[in-house]
Amino acid sequence: MGASLEGLAASGASSAEPFVGSEGSEGSGSTADVGFDDIPWDRRAVEHVWNRAGFGIRAEQVDEWVEAGPRALVEHLVRPRPTVGEGAWVPHEYERLPYSAEAFNRASDGEKRELRKRRNRWYRDQFAALREGWVESMLAGDDPLRDRMTLMWHGVFTSSLETVKRPALMIEQHNTIRAQALGSYSALLHAMLEDPALLVYLDNDDNRKGRPNENLAREVMELFSLGEGNYGEVDIREAARSLTGAGVAPALDVATYRFNPKRHDDEPKVILGVRGNHGPADLADILLGQPACATYVARTVIEYLEGVPATDERVEEYAARLRETGYDVGYLVERLLLDPRFYRDEVIGARVASPVDFLVGSAIRLEAELPPAFIVEAAADLGQDLFQPPNVKGWDEGLAWITTSTFMMRGNIAGAIVGAVDIETLRADASDMMDMSGAMDEMGPMTGKEKRKAEGQQVKRYEVAGLANILRRAKYEPSSMEARVVRDANASSDREVVALLTGRLLAIEPPVETLQMLELQLGQIREKYEVEEADMPRFRRKNQRVFHDFTHLVLSLPEAQLH
């Protein structure tokens, strides 16, 4: 990749509208360059940036960024990391299978069966290491904006392990996207048209002269660059011809890009009015030259980070910047985060947290030491299965994340995180269900052991059971952040504790009616555990139970699904 982060820094400095250093709105030529003095900079704004450009921030870190100001924070977020570039930090370095293709070919049928089993286990472990490594990075928050944008691009240039099969390819794709996540969209698009995972995912390995396969050609226009309505069916057919021969060369567990000239259709084509003997790179250049392309990319980025529809005027303003800078996405994001409109009332607190946002954000705010495997599986249960998006369009953001079912599931996951929902809770529920269904009667009297077994089978049908088991195996202990915070603040009324803990647990400010409702609920929870209001600051086990039940409820509320 040519344009690395250093390239980004250079482009930021050399671009037509130098911006770091041009403080304030005064002296700025364009009306669009309203300065960051106009940003209402307070705790809410700081949390807003961390929620959107990262995955959340711990409460005690907010003030230092209020102090430092917007420019310092945004510079911190876009600054090139020493861990990126040559010898870049990546979530997981793929480890090759510990046997060779020759060894496999020499093996007997029985040995081959064993080797395949071994391979499948190997693949599973490598894939788990990738997913968990990425989630660990999000939790650590060392390069939050890069993780955020990598997640966005993963939902644009989608591929799925289910189709691609070899985790090595997904890992390579992730690293390619990661390297360009805040770099050049132009470089990214070119790289993706040579990306083995994408070529396999969209069947381009089978796209050859005389027998074109249109899958990649269609999706690259519709979903990766222009958007529907900006090309015709003829363009897709011609683009498919330009992509013939772009495939992969597999070698056991890995695969590299291979362009096969014999399979390539070298005859002239006309794509979007441009005539020539186009190949894959020419197609990318033609797409990048379309006015619709920068518009599409700008809209994608703005709406992803703001979480509400952007006006055409605003999109065009940013699209113009993309064109001027040769598709510098880092610069676009930097401008967006310093745009006062990013902080308007319609935007703050109005984005529905995706499953990854909800889980990583809750873990950060709650200071819960969750095993990354838990977050990976929980996100999948909630509809965001990393590296296995539902289809080539990636994930639908916003309210589409929330159904009656995923809503309750989010609450159940929160319950597991604070220890309020565990296998015993579920067993008790299964037992009730079985009594209700009359299953006991049909099967006749059961021994205690048989009943436990039947309950166990029922529990397995609960999605949250698998998650509770991950926590049990990891010997996970729920966070005691709440009790500590209440003790440190010596908060001894329901009202104070509710204000304190909702401030800690929620990414948004809840409305007053919610605070009132929670005061009532906290009182009821205290009664259940026999804890007096004045005794709440005491650091003891039953107080922790009160706070855990309270946190379970708070994280199950509508307010906890927004950020």
Binding site: L399, T404, F407, V421, M434, E463, Q521, P558
Partner: protein, 412 residues
Amino acid sequence: MNLPKPDRRAFLRAAAASAAGFSLLPEVLAGGVQLQSLPGSGGKNLVLIQLSGGNDGLATVVPYGDDQLRRHRRSTAHKTSDLLKIDDYRGFNPGLEALRRRFDEGQMAIVEGCGYPEAIRSHFKSYEVWHTAHRAGRISGDGWIGRLAASQWAEEPRPDRVVHFGGKAPYSLFSREQPPVALASPTGYRWFGDEEAYARGGAAICEHEMERDPRHVGRDGALDRLRETLDDARESSGRIRRAAATYRTGVEYPKTRLSAELRDVAALVSARSGTQIFSVTDNGYDTHSKQRQAHDRKIKDLGDALGAFMADLDRSEVGRETVVLVFSEFGRRVAENGSAGHDHGKAGPMFLLGHSVKGGLYGAHPSLTELDAGDLAFTTDFRSVYATLIQGLFDADPVAVLGTEYPLLPLI
């Protein structure tokens, strides 16, 4: 965002907002709901089965009598002797034994060549057309089932009137006024904890104190929608769990995901708990390469699942009154591509099953000679099938729901 709240919600919130409110809460909130048999209020049940990815109609009901078929499909066409013949022109895919039986018994209608003008070959855009029944897609508003539900049951709102099994609901069910319930597994469909407290989370709307808390545009709009979802979750959870837990059937279903979901549908149909539209999605029909093997397996699983499901529905009157609609967002290209697969195409068949369906062939099989840019040209607008169901099953006005008049088919 500013829709008037249905009375149910207003009641829940008023009840929950008062300290002594819980004694007023309906029994459903306490989780101990009694299943009541509802009279079929305004119609029978409809089950929607979406074959996602673009099902190849030409490999599902195969026009083996047309010589063109083999010319276009050297490696993907079936051997004529393997097909389950319907007449001397068409035959079912060998995996559809169960459907052939239903067809022979007059309980299955095949509407051939379904599509729409200026077909789109994008999965997503074509879904939008099928889901909204409008060429403009989502811009035109709610899904067609959502609009039907809003017009049909506005007087008796019920969150589980429309239920999707298996994760996220398709846009066809989307409605701002009557959103569907979407669930992964019915038994785990609950919030584990103090359910009264949870109910208040959806009900946390009371007198707003303007001086303490200025309205916050973005947040409050989103909160409104989320609270409605929570309300709906709470109300539907008890009913659905009970129906699934208490269901007994002698019918053995195959061990596939689709079958498991259809069994859950059968449980809810039989419980007569007020759900009238059911939806499931079967993925994996996007057969760009090596179609024969992959598609035959999908189709056999589909046929076997439907066979068990229909047998299960046969057991009750409410089941026998239920109609099943099978559709896909488009058919596939007539000619095979370079990978022994088929790229996205246009027209394809729709299937309707049930005792109240007048079985047989409807529409006309598209020509394999006069193609529309390499695809089958549609002969029946799919919205005619929608219109027929809207009128025939729900006794509603198709024009009010679909916005346009489409010719009805005599199949109900």
